[in-house]
Amino acid sequence: MSVVDQARAPGTGPSLNGQRTSAAAARRRRRVRRLTYVAAVLLSAWVLVPIYLITVTAFTPRRVSYQFPKPLVPTELSGETVSFFSHSAGVLPALGRSVLVAAITLGLSTLLGAPAGYALARHRFRGKEAYRLLILSTRAFPVVILSIPLAVNFITWGIYDTTISVALMHTALALPFTVLITSSVFVSVPRDLEEAAQTLGCTPMSAFVRVVLPLALPGLAAASIFTFVLSWNEVFAAVILTLRQRTLPALVLSTLSTSPLPFRFAGAFFLLAPSLVFIFVIRRYLLGLWGRVSR
């Protein structure tokens, strides 16, 4: 029992007066706790109700989108709206491109960023702090806005309106995060294990592959999923850098003013659903991923 617990426990106080205040304090704590539960429920409702509403909209027949007043609890469920969306012209190719762009972004940013993250975690060298500062300072800039000058470059290089150009932009967006996240993942793998492997005859490379990598893999996978979601969601650069080769968000955005309501609603659901699953998969890593990076 710690000093604090003793002070709190009723009946162990030095005087009657002390007892009374600790009983009052306990009552107060219980009240704060009850209020905290109420806050938790209200804040959850704030997050969940809009998700519920868009899901209901996506899974009721198309005409309900135009119906007024809408039934707050759905009376009939159907896949009509979703299949109308997925069968609309250009949606499936755009979906494919979105996945491709996210996959290339993921591959490129890991390939470029993970070695730097490893260097930050394991090596001491001149210029390390300068490099870390540089990476951190990229967050003071609205990176996607750079897609406008980049578009001009891409036209000159002949890769404008391609999936690779969007992926390159997304990599620029994701790379600083990849460096910081992978560095914090590698820091969490004990250096002793790596050194022990080297003492036992591993080369630095094989010690990395056989000892560090397996231990770092879950964290790296979580970081990858995060990068994937980042690219999947990004729309400004995607819509600037493409004309016909739209990604899914770019397609939905560029048709906003002309598309029928059910198309937009189902589109929002399509964009939102995979992200919810991904966040569920990496829920244990969320604090580690973002928290450590943001300090």
Partner: protein, 293 residues
């Protein structure tokens, strides 16, 4: 051989290895981050026939939509931040209170982390649109007789409110995660000591937790402000052409009007505003180490 590698790694005398590991990321950022940043300004100050001039910048400032885009963006930044911080702080304190099912609360609060600007805009559009959920609810509750038009250029305040709500809904999660990480870095002894000395929950928050959380709050503020200056898809999905923001104007000048130079002028302005706000936050919110130094 292997032993030698370990010693060299420890002593930091490994020579070129760390630099080789950093090089790919540095080269990439030079080409796709640093260069376009300078190019944005170069493009904005390019004269139509070549050479340099103020033509594009003048067209940006002279555009009839410029004033509203700038004020809407600034109003959004100012309105979003306090609402979002209050919400995020509430969520962070709930998670940090270690209620039953902490993991579940955290997951629910963190859900919007995966929701895009565009999806959030459409979700709130489905709520606020004329035949939307809010009107349906109000009608069924008997509060209105016919649907109210929330999203119209005739009600700029309501438009802004809708955008603020959508943005707060989507981007509070990231602030919350940063704040929780900061809260977990504060030793429990501090708040417990304050408790022993009779400070109630509010005083513990105001005089112990918040001051210790300052560096974290600063990071979150900078991050959120930069995001707000880029606000784009949420605005477009909710308001259409009923209102406009700086990033939306950049998009319009680039894609619809085919004027990359004016679009670059908008991009440069957004860059300048973001950097200025970062500098401002760094100057205004001093952490204790800096004050001692």
């Amino acid at each position: 051989m292997a032993g030698a590698a370990v010693t060299r790694g420890r002593g930091g005398r490994l020579g070129w290895t760390p630099y080789l590991l950093l090089a790919p990321s540095l080269v990439f950022l030079a080409v796709f981050f640093a260069t376009p940043m300078f190019q944005a300004f170069g493009l904005a100050f390019q004269a139509p026939g070549g050479g340099y001039g103020l033509d594009a910048v003048q067209r940006m400032f002279g555009d009839v939509r410029f004033g509203r885009a700038l004020t809407t963006t600034l109003v959004l930044v100012v309105a979003i931040i306090p609402i979002q911080f209050a919400l995020a702080m509430g969520m962070a304190l709930v998670v940090n209170a270690r209620l039953k099912g902490t993991d579940l609360w955290l997951y629910i609060f963190a859900l919007p982390l995966g929701i895009s600007e565009l999806a959030a805009g459409i979700v709130w559009f489905s709520i606020f649109t004329e035949q939307g959920w809010l009107n349906s609810f109000l009608e069924q509750a008997g509060l209105i007789e016919r649907p109210y038009v929330f999203l119209s250029y005739q009600h700029p305040a309501l438009l802004i409110l809708a955008i603020v709500l959508a943005e707060a809904w989507r981007a509070t999660a990231i602030i919350m995660i940063i704040l929780i990480a900061g809260l977990q870095g504060i030793p429990r002894d501090y708040t417990e000591a304050a408790d022993v000395f009779g400070a109630d929950a509010w005083r513990r928050l105001r005089y112990v937790t918040l001051p210790l959380l300052k560096p974290t709050i600063r990071v979150a503020l900078i991050l959120r402000t930069i995001l707000a200056f880029q606000a784009f898809a949420t605005v477009l999905a909710l308001a259409g052409s009923a209102t406009n923001v700086l990033a939306g104007e950049a998009y319009r000048w680039y894609q619809t009007l085919r004027e990359p130079r004016v679009a670059a002028a908008y991009a440069s302005l957004i860059l300048l505003l973001s950097v200025a706000s970062t500098v401002l936050f760094l100057a205004l919110i001093r952490t204790d180490e800096e004050r001692l130094a």
